[in-house]
Assembly symmetry: C2
Homo-oligomer: 203 residues x 2
């Protein structure tokens, strides 16, 4: 599931930046597999809860898996959203700000890689480091947003493309949000501390 979702995100960005229709098609083709695996993992997890009646660490692991699974599926949906924008921009001239989109995409991909790694290795230090990446993402999104608004105002014909790219930046930001959710689940799994909505204990 992680591998499919990571590669969907990577390919969706390639489809956009390189105007690569083949990568776009691969993301669309894999969407139903991701949806299928989400349901399978959910079924297995619920069955384990019912049959094995796990307690303590095992219970925490299974509830973490249920949440992470749902976050991964949403990340897959966001990759599809990016691909839809990439297809709509396939024959349009590339706006300058696409450079920033690549930069933002790299930040987000690295967050996703790190947080999935932190889950596999039960490494809450690494999960916490993902929680601290939020600010860099927000800054990059704001800079993309400002550039696109002034571009659209300067050249109104570019409004539809500008909006497409604003939505791509928004989708990337939401992928980062889901990576943050997973990081919170990993911290809870490993340390038993709930860090949702509590910035003060996230350091």
């Amino acid at each position: 599931m992680s591998g499919l979702v990571e590669s969907a995100i990577y390919r969706s960005v390639l489809a956009l930046v390189e105007k690569d229709r083949e990568q776009a098609n691969l993301v669309l083709q894999n969407e139903s597999r991701i949806n299928q695996i989400e349901i399978e993992i959910d079924d297995q997890a619920t069955r384990l809860l019912a049959l094995d009646q796990p307690v303590a660490t095992d219970l925490r692991l299974i509830t973490a898996i249920i949440k992470i699974n749902s976050n991964l599926e949403r990340m897959g949906d966001l990759a599809v959203n990016i691909v839809e924008r990439a297809l709509s921009l396939m024959h349009e001239p590339m706006l300058n700000s696409v450079v920033d989109i690549s930069h933002m995409a790299n930040l987000v991909e690295s967050m996703v890689g790190k947080v999935l790694d932190s889950f596999v290795h039960k490494d809450s230090e690494q999960a916490r480091s993902v929680l601290l990446s939020d600010d860099a993402i927000d800054e990059t999104r704001d800079s993309i947003y400002r550039k696109l608004v002034s571009y659209m105002q300067h050249d109104p014909r570019s409004v539809p493309q500008g909006i497409d790219l604003i939505f791509v930046a928004r989708s990337l930001e939401r992928v980062a949000d889901h990576a943050t959710n997973i990081a919170e689940d990993v911290v809870f799994l490993v340390e038993g501390v709930d860090v949702r909505h509590h910035a003060e204990v996230r350091k």
Copy 2:
């Protein structure tokens, strides 16, 4: 939790359409309560799983509650997003398309009311009727989108406001998506049928 989230959505739309700063402030003040209750419900549900080791219907109810809880919290976040856009538009002239925003908001609020009702009454018929509202939402969003793009192209000074309203429409659409997720959980809870990603069995 349902009551707080329903009223947050209602107030966020009032804040936007009526330029009502007091409603906006109420939404922002209630955000932390919603987050707090999300954690409490999650804790209680996890504790029930551990201590009571429920099976069959009880297990399905508790896993449904965990998912619905998470969807409600995200709806609360979306109300906050709408309020942020409402505040940014507080001193701007109202764009014509705001009329459509009210219409879309009414559709979405009625979906949310219906689906929460269907959960309380374990009424899977009503939950299924929510699944069928998707198309109307998509049409309204497309119409808002088209009007705003042509408005921005015609009057480039309106680009920032237009983008704010596009994001409001997007947030409303996502509230509807979460209502759909909850409807799927209610159908599964009552009938034991998984209707995620399977339009053919949703009728």
